[in-house]
Point group: C2
Chain length 239, copies 2
């Protein structure tokens, strides 16, 4: 059933306008009486179409339930900004796999170093990709794309999770050494091309971030997050 | 240390020619006395450069060891051919993550349906991507890209593995229900855009292929193999 995210918690009656209204009426050619799901903040509002015009779709909510697709664990991906369009790829895949939030981080080895203003344009695009991936994969939330953070701010934010992990190619324990079923939130820090500098890893460890390894093969910076999120979702019982 | 795949098992002395020789001499600017690793069939041959000319590099093998990066489990990915360049992406990521072989399959819902001759061109490109990903990730073998198979032939091939699995979006057990540490080989069948037809899944089941699910979020056809291979490598102790 088609899913649409809405900004405010719906009352009994909801009026959809803009692109989504056009999509329902013209692209999907839906008719009065057909059903759609309105998604807001992890809740699914099953709704029946009461009226369709060129500019708006009027729906009546018939039942409310928690979104079935949301994982029981909240994973925030702290991703050192990679080159070219790799961040777009990472956002799309991470959202499909169930992350709650993505935080782009500037580390020493980031080749791409946009200033805050330039990144805001990129961020707008990443937000669109998050929305589109959330719709396609049936998510109950649109994962947030944070502003870009320095490594210091990222670490301070990361350690607020129940567990925070840094992927380090020079070693670290297996993800199997953590009991993810007992956790509500995890922060996962992945490097850009070339990984992290030792001093950055040491800084993370001194604040309580735990190094993990992803096996003996060297994964590209866009493969590592997809791999680690898949494994964490599986170990936490969300796959 | 730079790694180069060689076609034949090396004797004491190895002469490298062609692109690899140019790469060693001109791109890496390596000198006499420096070391490289020659890879053949899962074995690493540590070798010292004895001479470099414009056209060839002469190496002497100093020690031999099993490649440390090869997983203990052999995973063959049977991938229904997706649209556009998604197969290239899947090959790159699957090789990084440790698969042994990739078999492209034609299923009912494949939109891209090349004939054998057209696919051979595509296959040459996929083989190059496999080689390049194997080098980059430190693999001990170059995973094979098979010719394209009908679903019937793919199933017959797949069931030769210790365990064969089909990812089915309408459900199936979690990957956690299998003891991958006890297995030597696994076949993994993933659909193209739109997944499988029920009749195809039934045919697989009747031959002993087991359906598995990858959670409640709908994964794109290029995300599902990366996710499943990551989890299998983790559950088999190879991450």
């Amino acid at each position: 059933m088609p899913r649409f995210f809405i900004n405010e918690k719906p009352n009994e009656k909801v009026i959809i306008t803009g692109e989504d209204a056009v999509h329902i009426g013209r692209s999907l050619r839906m008719k009065i009486g057909e059903e759609i799901v309105l998604c807001h903040n992890g809740m699914d509002f099953l709704s029946k179409i009461e009226n369709i015009t060129d500019k708006e779709v009027v729906c009546v909510v018939s039942s409310i339930m928690q979104s079935q697709a949301e994982p029981s664990i909240s994973v925030t991906l702290y991703q050192a900004l990679p080159k070219s369009d790799k961040m777009e790829f990472i956002v799309q895949k991470a959202v499909e796999l169930g992350v709650t939030k993505i935080v782009p981080v500037l580390t020493s080895r980031c080749v791409s170093r946009p200033d805050a203003k330039t990144f805001e344009k990129k961020r707008a695009r990443l937000k669109k990709i998050s929305l589109s991936a959330a719709k396609q994969s049936g998510r109950g939330i649109i994962p947030e794309i944070s502003e870009i953070l320095s490594i210091e701010k990222a670490i301070d934010d990361m350690v607020k999770n129940d567990l925070s992990l840094i992927c380090y190619e020079k070693g670290g324990a297996s993800l199997n050494s953590h009991d993810f079923r007992a956790l509500k939130s995890v922060g996962l820090f992945i490097g850009s091309e070339g990984g992290f500098e030792q001093a950055e890893v040491d800084k993370c460890i001194s604040k309580g971030v735990i190094p993990i390894g992803l096996g003996k093969r060297i994964l590209r910076c866009e493969t590592a997050p997809i791999c680690a999120i898949s494994i964490i979702m599986n170990l936490s019982g969300n796959m």
